[in-house]
């Protein structure tokens, strides 16, 4: 007869043994391995592009245009300015539209209506459409209205359409996190639904919307695929000067340089990669700061 104390002791020992059985240990090691692999990939990727690009991380990267004859002195000036123009336009187009659509769906739309259901399904499907398809849409649109497709305006439209679903989804989540009591209080004081949204709900949701929008813009900054469809954006030797100006962007320029055989282009490509990653890091840090500092705790 085993006493109850003995039984408990056996069980405990069995349990401990279970956690340290060879199978368990192998399992845990393989989990660590998976996590370590992901971390290692990131480290190697960052270190490799830094080592390749550091020697070319000089002032000429910012001041000079790309050059076929002098790859050693090629710079990303046109690409940096082009990215700035296109991203600014993307923000101007996508953020107000995304916020408006998000506000409508979250605050005013009757979810039972068929057309609101259609819009809902549609937005989640749009978020999963491959980026390159947005380039085809923009190229087709430009052709239909007789617009030149190699211009800043077309680039901004393509990227704005790409990130629109992301901004809408971020807006909706931010608005949903504003408690119902705030709206009820505002309505009880006699504000109209529109006033309530404009003066109460939206201000409360701004930090969340800002974070989501910055993250969406950082995706647009790194995206090259839709812009490829706008054609011939690679040899740009002038500054963009308006909506109808030709342009190139950092990721497109990197793509072009990385496809060239010369070693010197590879170096300037990785220098531009470092620059782009630093920009993305700044944007992401900004998003995190906004989220942590201004996030409302209800």
């Amino acid at each position: 007869m085993t006493g109850i104390g003995q039984l408990v002791a056996t069980e405990l020992r069995a349990e401990r043994h279970g956690e340290r059985s060879p199978a368990s240990i192998v399992f845990l090691i393989s989990l660590w391995g998976a996590m370590a692999f992901a971390v290692l990939c990131l480290l190697v990727l960052l270190v490799d592009s830094f080592l390749d690009g550091a020697p070319r991380l000089d002032i000429e990267l910012f001041t000079r245009y790309t050059s076929q004859v002098l790859p050693e002195r090629a710079g990303a000036r046109a690409a940096i300015l082009g990215s700035a123009f296109v991203i600014a336009l993307t923000a101007i187009l996508a953020i107000p539209l995304g916020i408006a659509a998000g506000v409508y769906l979250e605050e005013f739309a009757d979810a039972r209506r068929w057309y609101n259901k259609l819009i809902e399904v549609n937005i989640s499907n749009l978020a999963a459409v491959p980026a390159i398809i947005y380039g085809m849409l923009t190229a087709g649109f430009a052709l239909a209205i007789g617009m030149e497709r190699r211009v800043v305006l077309a680039g901004g439209i393509a990227l704005a359409l790409l990130i629109l679903p992301v901004v809408i989804i971020a807006t909706r989540e931010a608005i949903r996190s504003v408690p119902q009591e705030i709206r009820h209080g505002s309505l009880a004081l006699g504000a109209t639904p529109l006033q309530t949204v404009w003066r109460q709900t939206l201000p409360g949701a701004i930090p969340g919307i800002a974070t989501g929008s910055i993250l969406a813009l950082s995706r647009a900054l790194g995206e090259a695929a839709p812009l490829l469809l706008l054609g011939g954006l690679v040899f740009v030797n002038y500054d963009p000067d308006g909506l109808m100006s030709g342009f190139t962007t950092l990721p497109i320029q990197i793509f072009n340089w990385a496809s060239q055989p010369q070693q010197a282009f590879q170096e300037v490509a990785s220098a531009a990669i470092i620059l782009m990653l630093v920009l993305l890091l700044i944007m992401n840090a900004l998003a995190i700061v906004i989220r942590n500092r201004y996030q409302n705790r209800w």
Binding site: L28, L97, G140, A258, L277
Partner: protein, 284 residues
Amino acid sequence: MGLLKAAAALSVVVTVGIFVSLLIPSIQFFREISPWDFLTGSRWAPTFNNPDFGVLPLITGTLWTTAIGLLIAVPIGLGAAVFLSEYAHERVRRVFKPILEVLAGIPSVVYGYFAVFYVTPVLLQSLFGIEVGTFSVLSAGIVLGIMIIPTVASLSEDSLSAVPRSLREGSYALGANTMRTTLRVVFPAAISGITASIVLALSRAVGETMIVALAAGTAARVVTSPTESGQSMTGFIAQTATGENSPGSLTYNTLFAVGLLLFVITFIINVIAGIIVRRIREVY
């Protein structure tokens, strides 16, 4: 109010716009090339003197890179997800989750660069001694896999974490250890979310452009081994779009026909993912 509604309705206009802008050139394309020849032909040479428009080589290119990518991303992504959700302490999670987010935020052109100038020459050729050329579906697939690890990991982790604690405690109470609990209780309970994450990763892999355009090569032929170079659907679109193509020409229309095929394939994958996601919500 009307303006807000219009903004929301714009998303439907965008979808219709995608359909129309892909369909019009595609219809012109299929007037010249029969859809049957397009879908079943095994020679893709749209710009040659005796052109052929069999899309199968591009599909094999996409299949190889996607399959290799999933082969990397599914085990690694699931391992990381299980680790973060079931094993890691809060402090460890707070270190590793942002790392995955950073990995997810790196632009794909950077991954493409990494594939051509690091994975192929340093890893595959020097370290492992595999005989690959400058361009191969293997290199593109591996890096594609690295890119979609965060997609698999973060969505799977969400659905693993959503499994109620009581299920785990029930399993522990029956004497199972953490591994057994994870594999026999938590994992099956979260399986629909995990499947959805894999299907979404699949859709991203099929639609990814810059990595395959840089690293897989430009020779469109039926790929039979991973060390060969090949061209995917997106790779063809990227290559042709940057070259000479005036609207209305057959080359231009070919681009959109391939784009339509890509759109239809990813759309089907996304619909499947949507159905799976809707099934999870019924579980709890």
